[in-house]
């Protein structure tokens, strides 16, 4: 079996119609590939000497990438009426390395789950610079993104920040959500905006003489004090007359606009993997469910062109993660996170039943705090969680993607979650505790659902003598228990042709399995081991985990791991909603 990871040349049509057209041709490609199996000179080997890679190369100059912003309205309508009909391809994530992990890239940096993240680190999160100096704000234009009101302003040190206020019905809530979510998503591996909780004192603010505001007429006219007042009248005010704001530092580099959740940038030579097949973008379905990041639209992302170490590349950010926890566009969005804005099945149900067929959001109990909003963990089911609109990447989530994401969520200890939530600087400790408690509950739900949905073996290793050891992530997370039998099927593996030759099968009641006698010992030789788990309560664990090891020196190095074969759509996830 020759798995062509994303980092190979194989690419798929991202457009469903195009995918359908290619389906027939795809069969022929398989046949032709079989005919050509003997022509090794045209095939890349399954494993290269540097596998598994830990960083995605970005070798080409991307300085010619150009800005483009798709209309929000188009994206919303497209996602509600077209994307929602998208049939997941079952394609294995294509940016994973040969051991099924996501290498570092301009999209993602392995942090929690790959390395230890301390409470101090998560408290700092993406922040590398100094906080703004709020002793003076110069307003330079309106805030152009996000649902909550704000300004673009320069602080006393002349740095540009995007200021966002709390709505009056969520005092501290919107600003805290940004502060906390940027820490969590940074720890999860995403590029985040440096965001600081600070204050805005209108008495210390001035308007830049050249500042303008776009009016309903379409014209830009001078930004006036009345424009400032109009915003301040609609936001939460501190008792001392100041305002609590979250200040997001202006990103470095040239801003290109959003990234898309499907296809590749046609102007970025390093962008080879269709975005819907990037695991970290698929994984946002799990991370979004955990944190309730309901506004997953592309407009809340941003690409920038930066030059680092003499190389110009495109860097991808989750720019706005403020629609998290219980924050809504307005106070009465009860269905948020339970349904897309328009969802066919619930629309039909309510239409035909005159609303008597209740939806969960109509009855779910919330323990509401003004600074937290509607956020709960008792009824929460990550498989039924819904963002405002679906994306193709959201639809393409497979069980192995969810497993990968769930392991990262599971890596957040209670202490780490409480440290992240503490950065929200809530004045009400009960609200702070509640938010952390709900995140812990939701984390545990994610663990119990996604870590048990497929074969949960992780960290397989062969010692020098060929003894196989591994861990059971479901057992270790405490979300499964009982007696399991682990069975290993051993084969020799030809890296040039992809052919395997069975050796033997061994088994164990523990997470250590003895090797068969005839294991190859030559330097550079490969062995493939398929490991399955017999467990009375988890039939899905019988789908074998395929591993490949290469003999290096006196030991074996894991070079290949495949949890779910290509082309197998999600099973653990509830079928995606149909219009």
């Amino acid at each position: 079996m020759n798995t062509r990871h994303l980092l190979s040349r194989a690419r798929r049509a991202t457009d469903p119609a195009q995918a359908a057209r290619r389906r027939g041709a795809g069969l022929v490609v398989v046949l032709a590939t079989a005919l050509l199996a003997g022509t090794a000179s045209t095939q890349r080997p399954q494993f290269y000497p540097d596998d598994p890679i830990s960083r995605e190369p970005e070798s080409q100059d991307a300085s010619k990438a150009q800005s483009y912003q798709r209309p929000d309205m188009y994206e919303m309508l497209y996602n509600l009426f077209v994307t929602s009909e998208y049939k997941p391809s079952g394609t294995r994530a294509r940016n994973v390395n040969t051991v099924d992990e996501v290498p570092d890239s301009s999209w993602f940096t392995n942090r929690i789950g790959a390395v230890a993240v301390t409470p101090d680190q998560i408290t700092r999160g993406p922040i590398v610079g100094q906080p703004p100096d709020p002793s003076k704000w110069v307003l330079i234009r309106e805030k152009t993104s996000g649902v909550h009101p704000g300004f673009t302003a320069r602080d006393a040190k002349g740095e540009t920040f995007f200021l966002e206020f709390d709505p009056p019905y969520y005092p501290q809530g919107a600003t805290a959500a940004v502060a906390i979510a940027t820490k969590i998503f940074w720890a999860l591996g995403y590029n985040q905006v440096e965001s600081y909780l600070t204050t805005f004192d209108p008495k210390l603010a001035t308007i830049e003489p050249t500042a303008t505001l776009r009016r309903p007429s379409g014209a830009r006219t001078p930004f006036s004090q009345d424009d400032v007042n109009a915003i301040l009248e609609g936001v939460a005010k501190n008792p001392d007359g100041t305002y609590r704001v979250i200040a997001g530092r202006l990103l470095p580099g040239k801003v290109l606009g959003e990234f898309r959740y499907e296809g590749t940038r046609p102007d970025d030579p390093n962008d080879l993997v269709p975005h819907e097949h990037r695991r970290e973008l698929r994984g946002l379905r799990v991370f979004g469910a955990w944190t309730n990041l309901t506004d997953l639209k592309a407009a809340n992302t941003i690409d920038t062109v930066i030059t680092e170490n003499g190389r110009t590349r495109v860097k991808h950010y989750l720019q706005d993660v403020g629609s998290t926890f219980g924050m809504c566009n307005e106070l009465h969005e009860w269905d948020l996170s339970w349904e897309h804005f328009i969802q066919g099945d619930t629309t039909r149900k309510r239409l035909l039943s005159f609303g008597f067929a209740l939806s969960p959001w109509q009855t779910v109990p919330y323990e509401e705090y003004p600074s937290v909003g509607k956020f709960e963990g008792d009824v929460f089911d990550p498989r039924k969680w819904r963002p405002q609109t679906p994306t193709i990447a959201y639809m393409e989530l497979r069980d192995d993607d969810a497993f990968w994401a769930a392991r990262r969520v599971a890596a957040f200890s209670d202490e780490l979650i409480r440290a992240a939530v503490h950065t929200g600087q809530f004045s009400d400790p009960v609200a702070e505790k509640h938010l952390a408690d709900v995140l812990i509950k939701r984390r545990d739900k994610i663990k119990s659902i996604y870590l048990t949905a497929i074969n949960p073996i992780v960290d397989p290793r062969l010692d020098a003598k060929g003894r196989l050891t591994f861990a059971n992530a479901a057992f270790d997370a405490g979300v499964a228990s009982g007696t399991a039998t682990y069975r290993a099927s051993w084969s020799r593996f030809d890296n040039a042709t992809g052919m395997t030759q069975p050796i033997a099968e061994t088994q164990s009641q523990t997470t250590t399995i003895e090797p068969p006698a005839a294991l190859p010992t030559g330097a550079g030789s490969f062995v493939a081991v398929d490991i399955l788990v017999d467990h009375a309560a988890h039939a899905a664990w019988r789908l074998p985990l395929r591993t490949h090891f290469r003999r290096e020196g006196d030991g074996w190095k894991l070079v290949g791991l495949e949890r779910v074969p290509d082309g197998r759509p999600a099973g653990a996830n509830e079928k995606t909603s149909k219009r």
Partner: protein
């Protein structure tokens, strides 16, 4: 299994035929990183910027209009007078300041009702506490229904009339506290020229009535109309709301410049939306009472009487079905949220008209029931379709506004 056909077979043949070419063109990379870099280099010749597709281009235009201003031509579906039938119209809006606009619009209905007007809107006065509308225009209706006065009239007695009306008005709305309290004052000059009906299947009103039996028949009346409203507005929007309500009293004074048809009118209106199960259901209630008072020695022309019947009140009856000096309307809707942009509703309307205020009791009320669908945004209801059933039959309502 061969259904993939000739193209696929050709592809297979091509693949079989090309290994040497591929091998010759691509040096085999020695590492994963080199393999990826090779693929990245291969993309360079085909780099191009994002190209908006047709859908994106149209969406951008629509978004620019809705969000960024610059709207000019727009549809206009308000008819000259209720009962005109399906209405088509258009308007042209031009901004005369950052917020102030001038809108020129006109409409025409299947029954030949005509409307043409110009409105100046200043939506941000007094530090965003007030708005001003100055309106001038002309309307003509050709066959407005008249069934006699009182609730006891019968449908078969329908007559019709026409009118022509130029008007000029100014309406100032102020919210001193920005929320809740709403004060409105207006001044209007208008001239109602009641005319015989033009076409239609019903006799013209002057063939059945005389000026002695029907005040205002064939009259041309010039009014100076002043009005004032005190209201408490706690809905999210008059155009669409799932909670809150409105309570208001409006007083009108119609001064006839000839001193024949002057009168006063007071309207009392209460609206309450009661959300149930987190706004998935909303029970919406409305009560509207209109009372009129003749000025000394003057009469109220028949075409100025309060009335019931039509798409926004007694929906199971024809427009202007019941008229008299006073009216009372009670409406209840059970609204069901189907999704974010679509509601259905089951409704009940009841009401009556009377010659005296004391007639406005709960006896001999006229009723209808119905079902409706509404497409809405958070603040407006651009399409409402209701079907209502009364003892006088089925009536369909197509409207571009909320019923209340």
């Amino acid at each position: 299994m061969w259904s993939f056909g000739l193209p696929a077979l050709l592809l297979a043949a091509a693949l079989i035929a090309t290994p040497r070419t591929v091998a010759a063109q691509d040096a085999q990379p020695g590492t994963r990183a080199a393999a990826i870099e090779q693929d990245q280099a291969a993309k360079v010749p085909s780099l191009k910027p994002y190209q908006a597709n047709a859908g994106e281009r149209w969406a951008q235009k629509a978004q620019d209009i809705l969000v960024g201003g610059g709207v000019s031509w727009h549809p206009f579906f308000e008819s000259a007078y209720s009962g005109g039938g399906f209405t088509l119209g258009a308007g042209y809006m031009h901004y005369v300041g950052p917020y102030n606009s001038l809108d020129m619009r006109g409409s025409y209905t299947f029954r030949g009702y005509k409307r043409a007007e110009v409105e100046f809107m200043a939506p941000r006065l007094f530090k965003r506490r007030g708005s001003l509308s100055v309106l001038g225009g002309w309307r003509e209706a050709t066959e407005v229904g008249f069934y006699g006065l009182g609730t006891g009239t019968v449908k078969e007695d329908q007559t019709s009339y026409g009118f022509e009306r130029p008007y000029a008005s100014a309406l100032l709305t102020v919210r001193p506290t920005r929320r809740f309290l709403m004060l409105r004052g207006g001044l209007e000059w208008t001239r109602w020229a009641q005319e015989p009906a033009d076409g239609g299947q019903f006799p013209s009103v002057e063939t059945v009535y005389t000026p002695a039996t029907l005040p205002g028949l064939n009259a041309t009346v010039s009014y100076l109309h002043t009005q004032g409203t005190v209201g408490f507005e706690y809905r999210t929007s008059p155009g669409y709301s799932r909670r809150g309500g409105f309570a208001g009293i409006t007083g009108h004074d119609f001064t006839d410049q000839d001193g024949d048809f002057g009168f006063r009118q007071v309207d009392y209106e209460v609206i309450q939306h009661i959300p149930i199960l987190r706004e998935a259901w909303v029970v919406s209630l409305r009560a509207l009472v209109s009372t009129t008072f003749e000025k000394d020695g003057q009469e109220i022309p028949f075409f100025m009487h309060p009335s019931l019947g039509g798409g926004s009140n007694l929906r199971g009856f024809s427009s202007w079905r019941f008229r008299d000096r006073h009216s009372m309307l009670l409406q209840g809707e059970w609204r069901i949220m189907v999704n974010r942009f679509f509601d259905t509703a089951v409704f009940y309307d009841t009401g009556k008209v009377g010659d005296h205020v004391s007639d406005l009791d709960l006896t001999e009320m006229k009723h209808d029931v119905g079902f409706g669908v509404r497409f809405h945004s958070p603040f407006a209801t651009p399409l409402r379709v209701d079907i209502a059933k009364s003892r006088e039959g089925l009536h369909f309502v197509f409207s571009s506004s909320a019923v209340f």
